[in-house]
């Protein structure tokens, strides 16, 4: 489910609310930052408290030109503004791995980074893994080995698992467990997840 590229926020009500609360905060602090920065001729990118910042991102091969409030995490941008709800929010504090995506090919927790910090980066989410109707080998392996029960942690597990193999950290069961420890599964599907990763690794396909 790819969103329309270059589509702004759909969630008008939320935006309005944020705008209003921003305004209140802004009135409370009144920093007047843009003018100061311009006066000081500082080499910087500035946004006033209630201003959105233009950000370009490549998400699953689609180029997006977005306008983002600085405090929006990458996770919230994906889920709430772009409708890419495959990436899950478990804890929102870096503790569970449900929000794992790849930025420029590296796995990260999307809940602990602001979207504005990712200007110009290439982001891959679980929606970007399959090629059309052809599932990614790791997705196939998770299905074959029952690597999930409720499925909530699964997008994060799969994104992490693909990176784990690419990084060369899937050499043994112990190594897989250590390098997959950032992905928690409430249902305890761990042994099947390890089996799925071992199969993909052993198959030697390019992931």
């Amino acid at each position: 489910m790819n969103p329309e590229p270059e589509q702004p926020n759909h969630d008008e009500a939320r935006r309005t609310f944020l705008k209003q609360s921003s305004l209140l905060t802004a009135l409370a602090f009144t920093p007047g930052p843009v003018l100061q920065a311009a006066a000081a001729e500082i080499d910087e990118k500035v946004a006033a408290v209630f201003e959105k910042i233009p950000v370009r991102l490549d998400i699953n091969g689609h180029k997006h030109k977005l306008s983002i409030e600085p405090r929006t995490t990458l996770l919230d941008l994906l889920r709430e503004q772009l409708g890419l709800t495959g990436t899950k929010k478990g804890c929102d504090y870096g503790q569970c791995g449900a929000c794992t995506v790849h930025i420029d090919g590296k796995r990260v927790n999307s809940c602990l980074t602001f979207a504005v910090m990712q200007e110009g980066k290439e982001i891959t989410t679980i929606e970007g893994l399959a090629k059309g109707d052809d599932l990614h080998p790791m997705q196939e392996a998770f299905i074959k080995h029952d690597g999930f029960q409720c499925g909530y942690c699964t997008p994060g597990q799969i994104m992490s698992a693909v990176a784990c193999v690419r990084e060369g950290h899937a050499g043994s069961e112990d190594e897989i467990r250590e390098f997959m420890s950032g992905n928690i599964c409430r249902c305890g599907a761990y042994s099947n997840i390890v089996a799925a990763i071992q199969e993909v690794k052993g198959g030697g396909q390019k992931v």
Binding site: A37, I42, D43, R71, N109, T113, S160, S181
Partner: protein, 327 residues
Amino acid sequence: MNQFQYMRPTKQKAAIDALAKDPNAKIIAGGTNLIDLMKRGVMTPLKLIDINKLPLNKIEHEGNSTRIGALALNGAVAEDKLVLEKQPLLAQALNAGASAQLRNMATVGGNMLQRTRCHYFYDTALPCNKREPGSGCGALEGYNRMHAIFGFSDKCIAVHPSDMSVALVALDATVLVSGPKGDRRIPFAEFHRLPGDTPQQDTNLAQGELVTAVEIPDAAFTKHVHYLKVRERASYAFALVSVAAALSIDNNTIKDARLAMGGVAHKPWRLTEAEKALIGKPATEETFRQAAEVAMRGAKAFKYNAYKLKLAPNSIVQALKTAAAVA
């Protein structure tokens, strides 16, 4: 989360200027600690200075030391060839921290400047002198299982959570800092501070100062090193106690030694007296036990962390045995 202003300077001087003139400004690097704390309302900066466009991520060897830029990622440092060859203890400590995902985001500068994980610090409904000076230390008479056994004060008994910093203090690293008044070098052992009467200050970094790199001198600690981390699950948890041990052994005699502990104090805890008790002795369990006894002098527990008085010396012995490959 509170609103903030965001800037992304491309010059170091612009970052320092912005930081120096605004006490409500904070640097953001990987964001893995700062964003966590901002979501909880523990830290509420009004301006964020994103330093990720500054060229501070190099890992290089110059003269007799390894120099690691403040923006080098924890994961990249842990797998770097030069680091693995010259400073394997640092690589071990980094790999013991957080998760693969977090290590891909966390920077070296951010890691040493991460705040305590003390529950009273994290919960804005509870008193904490570090978060809100004067509000009291909730942990002192509270649930203090994770807390300090060395160097605490009646204002704060929190511990520093970084694994990387335990290795760096053991390896005699130096922190390179740049500020409005120019550059300076801070020995790692003097970078973090004890809480005293001002636990709100974690380090001796001054207002407006940016960490630019760490430097680790070459030493004979490439073979007999071990970072032991004891935690409540096998991985992805903070240390109850951790030990960084580095030995140089010749003919079964300890020529030189470095020892530090994590999870026991407000700063990474270097054990110089215990090191002296090791040097010149045979690399045996007996020697290690004696050193551990020296290391524990002055330790004092609170209601719920007395287990550390046993766990810490046992961990020291175990780390030294593994480092020395003594069965």
